[in-house]
């Protein structure tokens, strides 16, 4: 039932996304096929892949640190990726997009590892503590990035990475995001292992899981997803937080069976935000990241105020 619902919503949104835009596809002087191939299809695909990827990255982080209130934007991951991007832009400005993404992913990996190290020192009693620590950690990394950008006159670049939006997505400039489809496939293969992480280190190890290697694999997947998204469209906060939590409430936390739902809902919500951003002030656009933040922040507050406490007895 919910499967059908998500699939239908996604199909409707894809249809809407393909048909909405400044260019009138039915006008005589416009090559509709070209507009589709160069702009509309890439933009739609990019929104779906970015949303799906960030939602999956969110659930991986949540299961890895056993806290459902964290997501990549609360682990310093995008800030670290931006710092890496800034570095490569300074030292080798002419690098290919793939090289830039690689550097951003490596920086994201280092930054997220730093958060994981912090996470082992934060008491687990109060689940809100870890996201706050992550917020501060990301803030420090972000401040360092901003300072570096300011000192080197690159603040404008930073702007394109911080606000996720899809108006700049054209054929030839978004294909890196297809990496997310591959990573989602990889994640599906190791879904049980990632779910086992949520049982905690001792328990997971006693079941024969290579805990460190599995966590590292999760970190690499999260870093690659975030780097790919930051490089192509800019960060989109809250997706990784809200989507896994909604799915968790409806279906529990078994990643193997949830993965298509998390990916589908993440893709659908970001695509919806992008479509909405295109029509609200037509013909101008509001970035999808901004639109989604409004929904995401509200959903986050709802999650905080409606916690499911375990029954005692």
């Amino acid at each position: 039932m919910s499967r059908l619902f998500v699939a239908m919503g996604l199909v409707l949104l894809v249809g809407a996304s393909l048909s909405i835009g400044v260019a009138d596809l039915w006008a005589a002087d416009i090559d509709a096929g070209l507009v589709m191939a160069v702009s509309r299809v890439p933009r739609t695909v990019a929104a779906v892949l970015a949303g799906a990827g960030l939602a999956l990255a969110g659930v991986v982080v949540q299961l890895s640190v056993q806290n459902r209130l964290v997501e990549p934007s609360l682990t310093g991951t995008p800030e670290a990726a931006m710092l890496g991007l800034l570095g490569i832009t300074l030292f080798a400005p002419g690098s290919a997009l793939l090289v830039k993404m690689g550097v951003a992913a490596a920086a994201a990996l280092v930054g997220t590892t730093g958060f994981f190290v912090l996470a082992t020192r934060v008491p687990q009693r109060d689940p809100i503590l870890l996201p706050l620590v992550g917020l501060i950690y990301g803030g420090i990394l972000g401040a360092a990035t901003l300072w570096l950008a300011w000192a080197t006159d690159l603040v404008q670049y930073l702007g394109t990475w911080t606000s996720g939006e899809f108006s700049g997505v054209l054929r030839g400039r978004y294909e890196v995001l297809w990496l997310i489809a591959g990573l989602a496939g990889l994640l599906w293969l190791v879904a049980d292992r990632i779910t086992l992480l949520s049982l905690g280190e001792s328990h997971a190890r006693s079941l024969g899981l290579d805990y460190r290697a599995t966590r590292l694999l999760g970190l690499v997947i999260v870093s690659l997803v975030v780097a790919a998204v930051v490089v192509t469209v800019g960060t989109l906060p809250f997706v990784g937080l809200v989507v896994p939590n909604i799915v968790s409430r409806l279906r529990g936390d078994n990643l193997r069976t949830n993965l298509p739902f998390i990916a589908g809902l993440g893709g659908a919500l970001i695509l919806a935000a992008d479509v909405l951003g295109r029509v609200v002030r037509y013909p101008y656009e509001i970035p999808a990241g901004t639109v989604f933040s409004v929904f995401g922040a509200a959903a986050f507050l709802w999650l905080l105020n409606a916690p499911r406490r375990p029954a005692h007895g």
Partner: protein
Amino acid sequence: MTFETCNLSITRDGVPVLEGIDLSLPPGGITAIIGPNGAGKSTLLHAMAGLLSPHAGAVRLNGRDLSGIQPGERARSLALLTQDQGVTARLTVADLIAFGRWPHHQGRPGHEDRAAVADAIETFDLGPLAARTLDALSGGQRQRAFVAMAYAQTTPWILLDEPLSALDPRYAHDIMRRLHDLSRTGPDARSVVIVVHDLGVTARFADRVIGLKDGKLFGAGETGDLMTSDWLTRLYDTPMEVAEVGGRKIPFAA
């Protein structure tokens, strides 16, 4: 399958937690690890589960050094239930128990795995709760689900770290009775090692007792032989008595 520790020593951050532990556990029955807080009971259990590398000495399962056994094979020989699961994931009881089979199938469950899960659900009376998520269970139900998961792992040895903490007597006895039955049903009898604080439960259900004090072995042997007021008084450094009610020995702090 005997479980042995030879001169086992564990250090944590350079501080010795366990020193020179020599144990030999025959298969079958329930072995209770008791002792004061901070005696190293949990550490011993984790070391026996192969999760801590010894500073000196070794843990041997059937004569084989545990550190030389691959994690996957180890997980098919012994199951460990850790003390505070702290699991926030909203897994259903059935899913949780199914993860106990992971060492056997690594993600591709077969007929045997499904049968083992069904057996665990039945053995621990979890049928009505199978579709519920962990956060919707009471403390006792939750603990029973985790014990069932360790059971579904179908290992000759089951190690349980304080599975009775925070359980009222009814649930505690319920779990112990089930473990007791498992530990003596013919050729598939499981050997149970359990860290426990409740001496009444220990006296009633444990076949053997291991006493730990200050990281050292204080004594090990048959429950009936060891659990005397003198031995317990010295183990806990507090006056202990053993009363006999209806032919049953009940230790208590005097």
